[in-house]
């Protein structure tokens, strides 16, 4: 019944405007201006303590420091590739911090900020990009799925998981991450159709960073992405993706709505990828430096720093301590990455199935015997 009611309610000239939990959508939800001034949004009031604000800043700064170090390590030949989150810290940390303990997140390959917010050790992410494993963390324990490289595929996983949650009668919600380019993928659209039809407790969190590698947004869509949600029959909202407070508030509201059985929400976090798509990409070939300079003025970390300083929430000593912590983190990441042991060749057999099958066990034995046949053998 909920699904039916929603489907009829969202038939409205202003898409998403009649969503019960997101009434009268503004074009862009913003709680913190690029200059660092708090603005009130009655629909998304955020009661947040100074301690929480400082903690958000710390997350943003440390995640960026990690990203910078990882980019450098790739340039030094220590990582095979790195997908930088530079510029998207607020969207990721805000979304990650909106999750409740039991909520499950399904990331793309760029959600380092969400991984950080979920308590994943950066080295467990680095190992994936160094090519020594497929992601070192326990997705069940961290409530954070492994990175998905296939564009948009995780939206189906998230919707399926959410439908499972629904059948379990659990109170958890699911957060599916995707990019602007992924909205053109069939899987994403299928996931949204199912999520809407079954009012699955899933929130689609789209970081619109303006480019699908080199393809600009205007090649992906003729309308603002958040308005697409109306076509599927659930509310869509656009939030300033460089405003960690707005992202936190909007994502929290959407997850809460999902938990309460009101079905999915599409969140378009309007942001900008300040770096390259990955370290294999050269953005100067397809976009102007002036565009980047423009977005630097909307830097997600600078605006929170300005807010904290201006309102006396944090002093210079605090910022210095965060910087120092960042350097320690970077040093730990550097050492840990460089010293990461290569996996034993036969370890690739270990995580194919939860329980090893006899044919696979036989293959593993044969593989190990083959390697052992070389002079001196190989390390196990």
């Amino acid at each position: 019944m909920t699904a039916l009611r929603q489907a009829t309610e969202v038939v409205d000239p202003v898409p998403g405007a009649s969503a019960p939990h997101l009434p009268q959508q503004p074009d862009l939800v913003q709680l913190l201006t690029p200059e660092g001034e708090r603005v009130e949004q009655p629909d998304y009031s955020l009661d947040i303590s100074d301690e929480e604000l400082r903690s958000l800043y710390r997350d943003l700064a440390l995640v960026r420091r990690w990203d910078v170090e990882a980019t450098a390590l790739q340039r030094q030949g220590e990582l095979g590739i790195w997908a930088s989150l530079l510029g998207q810290e607020a969207a990721q940390v805000g979304a990650g911090r909106a999750l409740a303990d039991g909520d499950m997140a399904f990331p793309t390959y760029r959600e380092h900020g969400v991984a950080w917010a979920r308590g994943v050790d950066p080295l467990d992410v680095m190992s994936l990009f160094r090519g020594v494993d497929n992601g070192g963390w326990d997705p069940v324990a961290r409530r954070f799925n492994l990175y998905t490289i296939v564009i948009g595929a995780q939206c189906l996983h998230a919707t399926g998981y959410a439908m499972g949650v629904q059948r379990d009668g659990s109170e958890d919600a699911v957060l599916a991450f995707l990019g602007d380019g992924a909205t053109s993928q069939g899987e994403v659209n299928e996931a949204m159709v199912f999520a809407a039809s079954f009012a699955a407790p899933v929130v689609f969190f789209c970081q619109n960073n303006q480019y699908a590698i080199s393809v600009p947004l205007e090649r992906q869509t003729r309308i603002p992405l958040y308005q697409r949600a109306a076509g599927f029959g659930f509310p869509g909202v656009r939030v300033d993706g460089n405003d960690v407070l707005a992202v936190l508030a909007v994502t929290r509201a959407a997850l809460q709505a999902a938990r309460e059985g009101q079905g999915p929400t599409f969140i378009e976090a309007f942001t900008y990828r300040m770096g390259a798509h990955t370290t294999s990409d050269d953005p100067t070939r397809y976009r102007l430096a002036s565009e980047l300079e423009e977005w630097k003025l909307r830097d997600p970390i600078a605006r929170l720093k300005a807010h904290l300083s201006r309102d006396g929430i944090a002093d210079a000593a605090f910022f210095e301590s965060v910087d120092a912590e960042g350097d320690e983190l970077a040093a730990r990441i550097r050492t840990g990455t460089v010293e990461m042991p290569d996996p034993a060749p036969s370890s690739m057999f270990e995580h194919v199935y939860a329980e090893q099958t006899p044919p696979l066990a036989a293959q593993q034995a044969e593989f190990e015997a083959y390697h052992a046949s070389f002079e001196g053998g190989v390390e196990r």
């Binding site: 340039r75 030949g77 220590e78 990409d281 100067t284 910087d323 460089v338 010293e339």
Partner: protein, 496 residues
């Protein structure tokens, strides 16, 4: 001297094998910190800065800027201090092709430059030294803080917030990109003629017609500063460059190549043989034995073109091509019936004129081997459908180069369809042994007086050359006029 470490060129993309060192950002003797940019490298995928993996003093730059270096090759040696006895680079190095030297724990990182590789770096010409040269003069802003030495200092490469005095984190060749943009936008720094050639600009900007224009005139676009929006070179720029060159410089002769060199070097000598030799002999024999007269007639063939469309729909003509040439052939055959003398030949030896009761209609055909004139035997007895089929067979056979000598012998009169080349008319030379040849020009829509008004009509030109020994002007004129009348009003055939 302390321990020396070498940094090998990593694979900064995925699966790259080489990169070009665009410029060094450090010099020998300079102290570097971890992650301080050492150099800028361009690969097939991107231009990027390589940050230092070591802190220490630069002791050697192993390649000059502008060198192509294979992935896995050491490019810089850095003295990282400590005990010199620990290792010298030569002995410390792992097998060639492995990257990163020895890492803590005694193992070797092998992410980059898989497999042994012993090839030397090689030089290649720089695409453009301009930007790099300009950048080299610009001060490189490098943070002085030693990485990790003090918690309060901002580490190199990092900008937690983009302050005015801090260099931003640089992904890719953003700095280079800005330079290129500055040039492209016609910034102040574009005074020299080579300035528009920023790196990444593989060729000067100009629209295709201007490109062609410059090429035809032999003007090198790379030497021109564009005055159009975004530095685009305009036609006026090309004209100006040409004028400037004309005042004292040399102008390349476009596609004709350099001006020096003897004439023989710029000529091609083709042996006269085959079809060319045969054609030449026939043309000479014809032109210098039969006195030619050519007459012209311009005809409104609109009705013929309409009839053509109607006939093409008839079942008896299904499957054959109803072309304008088919109507010309039919008109000529009908006209020959009224003026048999045009279908004759001059027998010099017998001192007789041979008038033929049959028409072997020759059709001049352009083939890969040259001009051939096969003929349709006894064409006057054919129905329109048969004639159409014969025409199609003849041209297809000729184009495939399979025309038999017998097909070309015994012709009595010929049509040359110059219209297919978009030509209006010509003065054809008689096929030897024949007395008349008709040139059929292109059918064009032209302004034409029709029923007292100038209206667009389908118009073509006919040219008839004939042997004046046999055919007088009167006969030739009547023959041509009859063909014209039949093409103008195909219904006139009923009166023939």
């Amino acid at each position: 001297m302390g321990a020396l470490k070498q940094f090998r060129l990593p694979d900064v993309g995925e699966g790259l094998t080489e990169g070009e060192i665009l410029q060094w950002l450090v010099a020998v003797g300079e102290t570097v910190t971890v992650n301080q940019p050492l150099c800028e490298v361009e690969t097939a995928k991107a231009a990027v800065e390589l940050p230092s993996p070591f802190a220490g003093t630069v002791t050697e730059l192993l390649f000059d800027a502008g060198t192509m270096v294979d992935v896995g090759t050491p490019i810089i040696t850095i003295d990282v201090g400590g005990d010199a006895a620990t290792a010298a680079p030569a002995t410390d190095e792992p097998a060639a092709g492995l990257i990163g030297g020895s890492a803590p724990g005694g193992r070797t990182a092998v992410l980059v430059g898989y497999g042994p590789r012993t090839t030397e770096a090689r030089r290649r010409p720089r695409r453009s030294g301009q930007v790099v040269a300009e950048r080299a003069t610009a001060p490189i802003v490098l943070p002085e803080a030693d990485y990790g030495s003090g918690g309060s200092e901002r580490p190199p490469l990092l900008a937690t917030a983009p302050d005015a005095d801090t260099k931003p984190v640089r992904h890719g060749g953003l700095e280079v990109g800005r330079q290129a943009e500055a040039h492209a936008l016609g910034g102040a720094a574009a005074p020299s003629s080579q300035a528009p050639q920023g790196r990444g600009r593989l060729r000067p900007l100009a629209k295709p017609p201007v490109r062609k224009y410059a090429k035809d005139l032999g003007v090198d676009l790379a030497a021109i500063t564009g005055s159009g929006a975004g530095g685009v070179i305009t036609r006026a720029d090309v004209d100006a460059a040409l004028a400037a060159r004309g005042a004292g410089g040399t102008v390349l002769r476009g596609s004709f190549g350099a001006e020096n060199g003897t004439p023989g070097e710029r000529e091609q000598r083709i042996p006269i043989k085959g079809v060319r030799k045969h054609t030449a002999a026939a043309m000479v024999a014809s032109a210098f034995t039969a006195p030619h007269v050519t007459e012209f007639l311009t005809v409104d063939v609109t009705r013929m073109m309409k009839l053509r469309a109607r006939l093409a729909a008839r079942p008896e003509l299904a499957g054959v091509k109803v072309s304008p040439l088919l109507f010309v052939a039919k008109a000529l055959l009908l006209a020959v019936g009224r003026h048999p003398m045009v279908n004759s030949s001059w027998d010099e030896a017998a001192q007789e004129i041979v008038v033929k009761d049959y028409v072997n209609l020759g059709i001049a055909a352009a083939t890969p081997r040259g001009l051939v004139v096969p003929n349709i035997k006894d064409a006057a007895r054919m129905s329109l459908a048969e004639l159409a089929g014969a025409l199609a067979d003849l041209t297809a056979t000729a184009r495939e180069g399979r025309t038999a000598p017998a097909d070309m012998a015994g012709g009595t009169i010929t049509i040359t369809n110059v219209g297919v080349f978009g030509v209006d008319t010509g003065t054809p030379i008689l096929n030897p042994g024949e007395s008349a040849i008709l040139a059929f020009g292109a059918v064009r829509e032209m302004p034409w007086v029709h029923k007292g008004k100038v209206v667009p009509r389908q118009v073509t030109q006919l040219a008839l050359s004939f042997d004046h020994r046999i055919i007088d002007g009167e006969l030739g004129s009547r023959f041509l006029a009859d063909i014209g009348a039949l093409l103008h009003d195909p219904g006139a055939a009923l009166a023939f």
